[in-house]
Symmetry: C2
Subunit: 427 residues, 2 copies
């Protein structure tokens, strides 16, 4: 029984691990990267709290003792659903499967304005995170050297487009950098005078949370010096700031994009071959058993799939959904003849962190905010960080940071960024 899993994120990795003791399964996990990334903590890499290596675990190392499983570092470029084979890049032989689990995840979406990616990085990959880190730190460095007060102001203005959990986390972390971490680091500027703005199209930040928690989050952000502006739409982004739909221009040298994701490209390839359908975000519309119509052996899970929950709403693109779908798909992939009870998502609760000792948690029957929600967030995230070694390192980094306000991972590496050098447009 050959089971191929494409993608080593939460969905793919949990599917692979669920197949650990299935004796007749020959599992191949294909990923173009050699590591599993713990995405929920990626914003901490972007803001200098953690190093990339501390939230990533080599897939081979995670699965090394799972003897029925092989890891292949390759990109899947095509599929033949009749012959049941996958085409791979780099002149590799094609891969045959009896069951296929597609867990290819999502990428940042600029809603058709792909040019904005140049100036307003999103936060999906390790490269994104280090790019954002460099952008933030360079902005303070540039402000320190700048004489023109207007340009200096633009360097000290940080715009986050999108007020979901990622946007809120980024804004909170940047506020901590400005208020605490860098407080005594500069001589010419006062980092604590930075302007940090979250721009959101909806009526409030954390729109997926109950209103009272959104309100608490906005208040917490305000206390940290982060202003939120709701109901605004960004119509243009360039190296010097954004323009809102009202025509207002906000000058800012740092614009971060946390406004949207779309499924990775493989869903479209799959749907061309099997005549399935994708939604506007490129996610594959699958049946209640997470398979593609007409192909009970092809599962699509996690951010790559569009699935409705019991309440009729689309399931969110979060790790717990992918993990549960991974386990569900693995079981059916290994035993195709089992009765196909529809997938049901069990929502254990939603968490979003705002900053130091500040978070919100929604368990449906219970809503918590503040220090206790933050402790919960810490606990849950440490528990899920994949390898023991990383868990310990992350724990220590956090401990030190909590007491000293320092952030260790503040390197600006790589070639000097060639940002377009245009003068700041006056607003």
């Amino acid at each position: 029984m050959k089971i191929v899993i494409v993608g080593g994120g939460f969905g793919g990795l949990y599917a692979a691990q669920a197949l650990r003791r299935v004796a007749n399964a020959e599992v191949t996990l294909v990923d173009k990267r050699n590591f599993h990334l713990f995405q929920p903590l990626l914003y901490q890499v972007a803001t200098g709290s953690l190093s990339p290596g501390e939230i990533a675990a080599p897939l081979r190392s995670v699965l090394k003792n799972q003897h029925n499983t092989q890891v292949l570092m390759a990109e899947v470029t095509g599929i033949d659903p009749v012959a049941k084979t996958l085409a791979l890049d780099g002149g590799l032989d094609s891969l045959t499967y009896d069951s296929l689990i597609v867990a290819t995840g999502s990428r940042t979406s600029y809603f058709g304005n792909d040019g904005w990616a140049e100036v307003a990085p999103g936060l999906k990959t390790v490269e994104d995170a280090t790019r954002i880190r460099h952008k933030i730190l360079r902005a303070f460095e540039a402000a320190e050297k700048e004489d023109n007060p207007e340009i200096r102001r633009a360097y000290l203005t940080f715009l986050i487009v999108g007020g979901g959990p990622t946007g809120v986390e980024l804004a909170g972390a940047i506020a901590e950098i400005a208020n605490d971490t860098l407080r005594h680091d500069f001589r010419e500027i006062r980092p604590e005078e930075s302007r940090i703005l979250v721009l959101d199209g909806g009526p409030r930040v954390l729109g997926a949370f109950p209103e009272e928690l959104s309100a608490k989050a906005e208040r917490s952000l305000l206390k940290m010096g982060v202003r939120t502006r709701n109901g605004v739409r960004v119509t243009s982004v360039d190296a010097d700031g954004v323009v809102l739909h009202s025509g207002e221009r906000i000058p800012a040298k740092t614009v971060l994009w946390a406004a949207g994701v779309a499924a990775s490209g493989f869903g479209k390839v799959l749907c061309t071959a099997t005549q399935c359908e994708t939604d506007r975000g490129g996610r594959v519309l699958v049946g209640p058993d997470l398979t593609v119509p007409g192909h009970p052996e092809i599962f699509v899970i996690g951010d790559a799939a569009a699935v409705k929950g019991k309440d009729g709403n689309w399931l969110p693109g979060v790790a717990p959904v992918a993990m549960q779908q991974g386990r569900y798909a693995a079981r059916l992939a290994a035993n195709p003849s089992l009765p196909r009870k529809p997938f049901e998502y069990f929502n254990k609760g939603n968490l979003a962190v705002i900053g130091r000792a500040s978070a919100v948690a929604d368990f449906g029957w219970l809503k918590v905010s503040g220090f206790f929600a933050w402790l919960l967030w810490l606990f849950v995230h440490l528990m899920y960080v994949v390898e023991f070694e990383n868990r310990l390192l992350v724990f220590i980094r956090w401990g030190i940071q909590y007491f000293t306000f320092s952030r260790g991972a503040r390197l600006i590496t790589g070639e000097p960024v060639r940002e377009p050098e245009t003068p700041v447009v006056r607003s």
Copy 2:
């Protein structure tokens, strides 16, 4: 009293710190990077034991409480020794000094064959280290996917050119990766069958150490599966291997360059302006007080300077020399009228690590090798790792690695490397 220090390596940072309590000093430390890098552990980043953030400390953060000191992230592009000003990149105002300390360090040298840099990375920067890490890990990944046994062999062959401490450290670490870390990670290849070769032009590895320690090092390496070939010269390097002066070709997809360094470019700029002289390696020939002839206010220290020791030999390009010179230069820079007692290097001993529980140490009156030398090496390096937080993290990483043989920092990031894809030439 304006003191400008160019470069935040060991020399520059120790000079800055020595000026901490000098009340009338206005110190500016200029570096094009925003961090101090603990170079002696860079090979551990290259071989996946540590993350870059764990051996780097932001300069601003190291010097934040030193109120007479300002950090400037900029590149120095020129000097006017008459007006006593430095030109900076990026349209910044020039910087005036009363005393100048040049501590611009060194870079990898290919002895005129700069084209080799493309295929055989050296180990001087964080970017070099991650590039080497990717190269090593990708080689195993490629071997796993390769059917042709000859090409597979080339992927599992690792050549290190240069048998000094860096070459020996890299070879030992690669051997540990192959023998232990990756042992159970692959299904098609056996990483422990990798061929690891150190090529050295001299009669023995670690040529700066006493003969008996070189012999011990070679024996330790051999036990780990690393062969050393002395008295060979490399005449050509390409993506598929090297050619020796004998005409012999060694096919290898991974060639690392640890054969030489030259001073960074600023020394030449300085000497054009002040009519000083540089040696073949671009190092500035300075007087006994480390100043440039005719300019008692311009000091050159560390790898940027060529200075003779008491025994008449040139001082080696190691951290202790730079640190001692930094302190020496700082004192005279702040008090130009002090009598100029010539700089004297106090050699506390030389250490080189080979691998797990294996190192050599030379104190002149005492020569040690094996476990005790390794403990010494550990202790010394932990003591000097700059920030407390990093020290703790490095200590924990090492502890875990010692007992589990695992290496946490094994990410392959960045764009796929476009290595020239030529067939392996048969030897």
